[in-house]
Each structure stands twice: as C-alpha cells, then as structure tokens.
C-alpha cells in the first residue's frame, strides 16, 4: 500500500506537538502555585505522562477504539497491548480508518490526548494531594472516564454520529449515520468538559487548601505561566490542526481558527479585567489564551475564522468572570480548571450549535445542531461527574487524598518529594564516604 506520506508526517508532527503540551501545562500550572509547591504541581503533569504512556498501549487504545461494547466502551482485550493494531495477521501495516496513513500513527496521536486531559485536572487540587493517590487516580480515571468518553465521541459510541447513538435517536438517520451529527472536532467534551467536571468533583471531595480565602495565594512565577501558555498554544496546533487527520484544507482552517480564537479570547479577558479590576495582567493574558484555545477545540474545523473571533471573545470574557465564582461559592478550584476548562469547553461545545458554518443557528441551520451539542455536553458532564465521584470516594476512603496539614503548610515539595525548587535544605554536610 502507498501511504500518504504528507498526512503521515503531519500526524506524527501533531502527536509530538500535543505531547509537548503536558510539560507546557506543567509550567503553566507550576508558575501559578506558591514557591513551596511548584515541583509537586509539575510532577503531577509528568506523573500523568508516565502512567498513561504505559497504560495507553496496554488497554487504552483498545478501550477507546476497539470493538464497541454497548456504545460506552471499546473492548479492552480486543487489541490489548496493541495486538493487531499495528500489523495485521499477514504482517502488513494496518491503515488508519481516518486517513491514508498507518494506524500506529493514530495511537501516537491519541495517547497524547489522554495524557494532557488527565493532567489538566491536577490544577484544581494543587498543593494538597498525596502523590501516590494522584498516580492511582490517574490510572483509574483515564481508564473509566477518559477512554469511555473518547470511545463514545470518537470511537463510534453513544455520542458519535453512529446510528445507535443519541443524536440518531433524536433526529433520526440519513444514509446510516445520524442526520444531525454531533460536532466535537478535537475534544470539547472528551477533553475539556471531562477534565473540568472531574476537577470540580475532586475539589468538592478533597476540600480547600489551608488558608484559602484568608491568605493570599498569588502565582509565584508569572514568567513560567506565560512560558506554559506559549507552549500550550504551540502544541495546540497539533491538537486542533492534527484533528483534521490529514495535511489538508481542514487542518489549515483549524490552525487559523485556533490562533484567531486564542487571540480574541486574550483581548476579551484583558479588557474584562481592566474594566473590573483596573489592571490588564499577565496571568489574564495567559489564561485568556488558554480559554480561547479550549473553546475553539470542539469547533476548530466547523467555524469560519470570523466566527472564531466571536467564539474566542465570548470564551475569554466569560472565563474571566467565571474564575471569580470559586470565592463566591467557596470551592477551592486552585488554578481555575473549572473556570477555564469546564466553562470554556461548554462555550465551545454549545457555541458550535450557533457558529458552525454549515449547521449553526446563526448561519440558518436551525436549532437541531444546537440541541445535539447541548445534549452531548450534558451527557459528558453527567458521565464524568458520576465516574469521578465514585473514584474519588474510593480513594478518599482507602489511600486518602490529603497530605498532613504540616506538610501542606510547610510545603509539599519538601515533604513529599524531598526537594525544593528554589531552596536547599541548608546546612549539614555530606556523610557518604567518597572513595578516592
């Protein structure tokens, strides 16, 4: 078989870009916490890379894209360890179902999505969680929440255009697929709503950081936050333009929409906080960029660039307002995973129903697409919420979530990891005998 080498090269490049987003996220989050917990924050992202990098080839791919079981998951044993995923029984490389390139490239691309989605949750529960409990949570959550949602939306399950899916049940089918297909281009539901809801549920279970609402907990290193936002933006080209599954016009459109929405959202966030608080902050710029990127994620292939300006601006302004809600309602979503990813993910997923150039309400498409988008967003929220609650409760009653108050106040970096980002333990001397 002759592969489309352009598509193959672009998809491998995209996979690499998306993988870079997780270290980027580590900087984005790491800069936002206090100096005494930056290493723990970054380690939560790196830990997700470790756990999911292993799990994905074992059962992750199979649960996402293997043989469908009830529209909810793929059979984990079907392609366990990627058996039959890369080469068929005749020894030939298996082709992707999405483009004319080898399927193993899809595995590379998709593992990076599973990693970044799970890592996103860590920002909600910064500074206070046992590292072992986090690592166990990562493994269980990605298995029971991420893989099933990826299957439901992208693997032909309930939230896809499948004739057995919810959209088909509402508006019927045409030529064997849902007449009004749900649109989630690169993961508004699977990635952002999923992670945002999980963050909210965990925060409610785990509780606030000690001193929340009393002591100032301002970012300790804003250049890190800006660096992280820049890496996320760059990596997002793989995330969105790579989700065209080819080197083509859709990929180009997704690239342009991604940048346009991020730019508009940054401006909207800065204007909102300048009016409200009197300052256009660097934290606002970085957060605005991410809010726009989140919102355009489900919509990147379905909007016009002008539509993307509006979607990005709405996301930037709404998220800027939403990050203040935690003080009003008293939940310590430490780094605004709910305010940015849940709110931004909802703006994007529902916004598709208004702004999609072919089916959106503002383009004469009627209400059908909007209804489908609202339904998939709500189903994703309920699914993620219930699954996360169950996992969170089990961990709370077995391993426990919180580090000791002493460790939290003294600094989780030193207590849990035995190191500090900017200070050494001080004093003392080396007592290991050095052989000369």
């Amino acid at each position: 078989m002759e592969w489309d080498t352009g598509a193959t090269a672009w998809m491998l490049t995209s996979a690499s870009l998306v993988l870079l987003m997780t270290p980027g996220l580590a900087f984005f989050y790491g800069g936002m916490v206090r100096a005494k917990s930056v290493l723990n924050m970054m380690m939560m992202s790196f830990g997700a890379m470790g756990v999911i990098g292993v799990i994905y080839v074992l059962w992750g791919w199979s649960m996402s894209y293997g043989t469908d079981v009830g529209g909810i998951i793929g059979n984990p044993f079907d392609q366990f360890g990627l058996s039959g995923t890369i080469f068929d029984s005749a020894g030939e490389a298996v082709s992707s179902t999405l483009g004319n390139y080898p399927q193993v490239v899809d595995v590379a691309f998709q593992v990076t999505f599973a990693i970044i989605t799970t890592a996103l949750i860590s920002g909600a529960i910064a500074d206070r969680v046992k590292y072992g409990s986090w690592m166990v949570f990562v493994a269980i959550w990605v298995t029971l929440s991420y893989f099933p949602l990826a299957h439901m939306v992208w693997g032909g399950g309930l939230l896809s255009a499948s004739p057995d899916g919810i959209a088909a049940a509402i508006f019927g089918t045409t030529d064997g697929v849902a007449s009004v297909a749900p649109i989630d281009f690169a993961g508004g539901t699977v990635v952002h709503i999923n992670a945002g809801v999980a963050g909210l549920v965990l925060v409610l279970l785990i509780g606030a950081r000690k001193g929340f609402g009393k002591e100032p907990m301002r970012p300790h290193n804003l250049p890190f936050v800006m660096l992280g936002a820049a890496l996320l933006w760059f990596g997002w080209f793989g995330f969105n333009a790579g989700s065209a599954f080819g080197a083509n016009a859709t990929a180009g459109l997704a690239w342009v929409n991604t940048t346009t929405a991020a730019a508009a959202a940054m401006l909207a966030w800065l204007i909102t906080e300048k009016i409200r608080d009197g300052h256009a902050t660097s934290l606002g710029a970085a957060s605005g960029v991410v809010a726009g990127l989140v919102a355009i994620t489900p919509a990147a292939g379905a909007l016009s660039p002008v539509g993307s300006i509006f979607l990005g601006a709405i996301a930037g302004a709404l998220c800027a307002l939403a990050v203040g809600l935690k003080y009003r309602f008293g939940y310590d979503d430490s780094l605004d995973v709910v305010g940015v990813h849940l709110v931004g993910g909802l703006v994007g997923t529902v916004g598709v129903g208004f702004f999609a150039t072919e089916t959106g309400l503002f383009y004469g498409g009627g209400f059908d697409q909007l209804v489908v988008q609202v339904v998939i967003a709500v189903v994703a929220m309920i699914f993620s919420g219930v699954v996360t609650l169950v996992i969170g409760l089990i961990i709370k009653n077995t391993l426990g979530w919180r580090v000791s108050e002493d460790a939290e106040v003294g600094g989780i970096d030193l207590a849990v990891h035995g190191e500090g980002a900017y200070e050494t333990l001080g004093g003392g001397r080396v007592i290991t005998e050095v052989r000369s």
Binding site: R218, D277, G278, H279, T281, G284, V323, G324, L325, Y327
Partner: protein
C-alpha cells in the same frame, strides 16, 4: 555618635543619596524593607479576589554621624524624600555607644 535611620519611598532613594553626598556624608547602608504606617496599605483586586496589601515596599537608609550632625542629616533626608503624599516614610535618630572600623581597628569618631 548617632544612627540616623530613614524609611523612604524606593523611588526617592537616588535623590536622598545625592543630597546626603552633597551634604558631606561619606557612607551609608541601604536595604530593602517593607511595612505600613497609619494608612495601613491599600486593597486591590487580583483574579477575582480582593487583597489587602499592607506590607508596602520601602527602602531603609542608615547613616552614622557625629552628635552635632544628626539634625542636619535628618533634615537633608526629609527634604529629599518628601513628596507630600501618603507613604513618604519616617526618619529617626538613636544614640550609638561605639563604632569600630574593621579594616584598622579604630574606634569612636575616628571610625566614622
């Protein structure tokens, strides 16, 4: 001997330093400080949360002088640091028993 200590606005440091040099002061110690006075700082909003900022950045300037020069040096600092706005700072004087110059071991006025 006296120790004159001034807590001033950071942006007035250069002017105060020049004025002290012009007045014949040959040495001083400058350090960063933070604190508040009668107005107790201010409040500001950052990312949706309101904060009181009660420790405001200041500069501490310390000068060792002979007894009869203390009043002049205090006056020089006050004049050069003054903007007339809230937060201009304070200057005070305390007596000093002895001073030693490390390099030579001299004591008292000779060490100033």
């Amino acid at each position: 001997m006296k120790l004159v200590t001034g807590i001033i606005q950071p942006h007035r440091l250069d002017d105060v330093k020049s004025a002290l040099e012009a007045a014949g002061v040959r040495g001083m110690t400058v350090s960063e400080a933070s604190g508040y006075g009668r107005q107790k700082g201010h409040t500001e909003v950052y990312r949706g949360a309101e904060y009181t900022v009660d420790l405001v950045p200041k500069v501490r300037i310390e000068v060792l002088v002979e007894d009869e020069d203390a009043g002049v040096v205090t006056g020089v600092i006050v004049q050069a640091a003054q903007t007339g706005k809230i937060g201009d700072g304070k200057v005070w004087t305390v007596p000093v028993d002895d001073v030693a110059r490390v390099r030579t071991g001299e004591h008292g006025a000779a060490a100033l």
